[in-house]
Symmetry: C4
Subunit: 210 residues, 4 copies
């Protein structure tokens, strides 16, 4: 099964998500600079979500580029990821309009958490399909960043009960961690040159590229 249309469909959905979010920034009916002031939290919320969708697109791009093939389970894991990301415009607007108050920040974090879990499932399914010793799986490694992100989201959700800005701060932090594109999938060839031939490399149990 070819991955081309999965990439194209995901690109389409992510492109639409990242763009329709801006429709939630309602155009003020007066022309003063002050009329923009109520939009500042909506705008901040939009910027964070834009970065998150951008990060997902970047990492999805890299991961699927490294993938050799896909199967039915991967199609559904991908749809699950797109489902949770499709809720980002809703929680972005709710969080922005309510000036980062408790429940909106918690819900925002929960959607991020569910998206991260879906991405983890997608990566896990790709690893299973390609085999543990495949170039793909060795490039993905033990996915520390993915696991840490999930912990941070949980922490952010919990801390939001104390003060929602703590939660929001943690979401910004996680975005910062991921800001640098995922280089694990960037140079598979060079890695092979260093580590020897690709197949039958079973003695290297400690994956060196994680």
């Amino acid at each position: 099964m070819s991955k081309g249309r999965l990439e194209a469909f995901s690109d389409g959905v992510l492109a639409i998500i990242i763009t329709i979010m801006v429709l939630e920034m309602k155009v003020p009916h007066t022309d003063s600079l002050q009329s923009l002031q109520p939009l500042i939290p909506v705008f901040i919320s939009y910027v964070l979500s834009f970065i998150y969708i951008g990060i997902y697109w970047n990492n999805h791009h890299h991961m699927m580029h490294a993938a050799q093939h896909v199967n039915g389970a991967i199609l559904w894991a991908n749809s699950l990821l797109l489902f949770w990301l499709s809720l980002v415009p809703f929680v972005t607007a709710w969080m922005g309009e309510n000036h980062f108050s408790t429940w909106p920040v918690i819900l925002y974090g929960m959607v991020l958490l569910m998206a991260a879990i879906s991405y983890y499932i997608l990566a896990h399914n790709l690893t299973s399909l390609h085999g543990k010793d495949s170039l793909f799986s060795r490039s993905l490694g033990s996915d520390q960043k993915g696991k840490i992100s999930m912990l941070f989201y949980v922490a952010g959700i919990g801390l939001s009960f104390i003060h929602p800005l703590l939660g929001f701060g943690i979401y910004v932090l996680v975005a910062g961690i991921w800001f640098k594109p995922d280089t694990r999938f960037e140079k598979p060839v060079e890695m092979n040159d260093v580590n020897g031939p690709l197949e039958g490399n079973t003695q290297k149990k400690s994956l060196p590229h994680s």
Copy 2:
């Protein structure tokens, strides 16, 4: 005539349909957890439609992947399918906002039925173009699942007059039947290995892969 742009255009339309549906979930203006409560039926309605559009994309993906070529009639059958699917956001919102009451559930079922009929016409046109004994047609088989789905939609529409949740339950059931991606088109090569050469296989009237 190449099928590439038909796939690209369909991907685009399906990606937009699946994404703009979320715009019907109106962001509440207060920040309490209770303010989300009225959205629960809209959300459930959204989830079901997301799954349906996902299923259509999956099956469309597989069917067009197996197709060798398209013609004008297929372009229009595809447009007819996209037309009915384009109405999904509307009926999804109407059904969700009205808490699965009778007429919205019936209309939702009718749009699903029309989409299923359009998909059937599309598959039928593809079969005609490729020939009854083609790999494509043998992979598609007698399309039991498609025919059963249509019967179920009709039953769901009828049962909605007794109680709309019966109809809704049947739509969920049909989604469950289709949840597993259509594997008929997945391994055409292996099928050939088992069943002998592709062309001139006229003695096998009972298509073995349906």
Copy 3:
């Protein structure tokens, strides 16, 4: 200059236009069958525009498929076409909401006319680039259907001053004329079979394939 991204961008814009039109069908807040009644003219308006955008996509698909290359002027002619088509959702909603009254029907026709003129300019630019005796230009032919359509739009606009349904009827008629996909670009190879070999055919001054 490659035509791939022009096709992809046009597909994207057309897919969005055809899909966002449905957002103009405002979901009624009550669940009776009667509550759908005011939407009937909006729906009819939507169906006609869906068919028109579908026709444009089909013909654009065929024409660009036959094109060998594009240049800057063609990029802008294509953008001009997309501009007028981008106004279709607006005039569709205005015409539907106002039950096909005079000015909305006239404006609808004017947008169709401008789109047709833009398409003509696009086709003309492609003919100039490929040469009058090219396979592309011979496939396009004298473009009777395009010229007749423009005349019909003008007639429809004029007749709308007498009664808007006359104008609307003519727009439906033109859609009927174009419903069958443009076959001119479908079978270039067979034309060559009739007219002799492709290369080195220098003695035929009326160049059939150049």
Copy 4:
């Protein structure tokens, strides 16, 4: 790293931006010609933004076509460009609804300025990656037009404090400068034929193709 998905994603986002802008033209509820009158400034604003997004798509198309490869920094520079362009529908609607008054025109100019700076960063990153003497960089040249545009935007913003139509006029002027597609990337091969071999061409300090 392949540039294909970056192009596809950018095409998608630009196609959506250019299309959803039309949603800001609210359909009037009456059918008189006069009811369209308040939309005239919104329409003018829409036309200018349509042209700007079209210009960005054209130039992005050409620049990425000439690029051989991309890296992580380029992905982010591209996302930054898309971010600022995603704000165009918002500022377009604000400027149109308020009849080109001071602050909306200033904000519109600032978004154009930020987009131009992002494009400059994107071009700069591509130059760095390909090397100063690469065909790409020599085709891009000294990017006079890009630098002049930024100066003009700054001037337009400043002049808007005197009268906003001065600023608006300058934005129209800049669009006019860019209207002709960027031909620098169009004929790299012919340029080589004239100017000699591509690599090691260090004596030509004054880049001849800028």
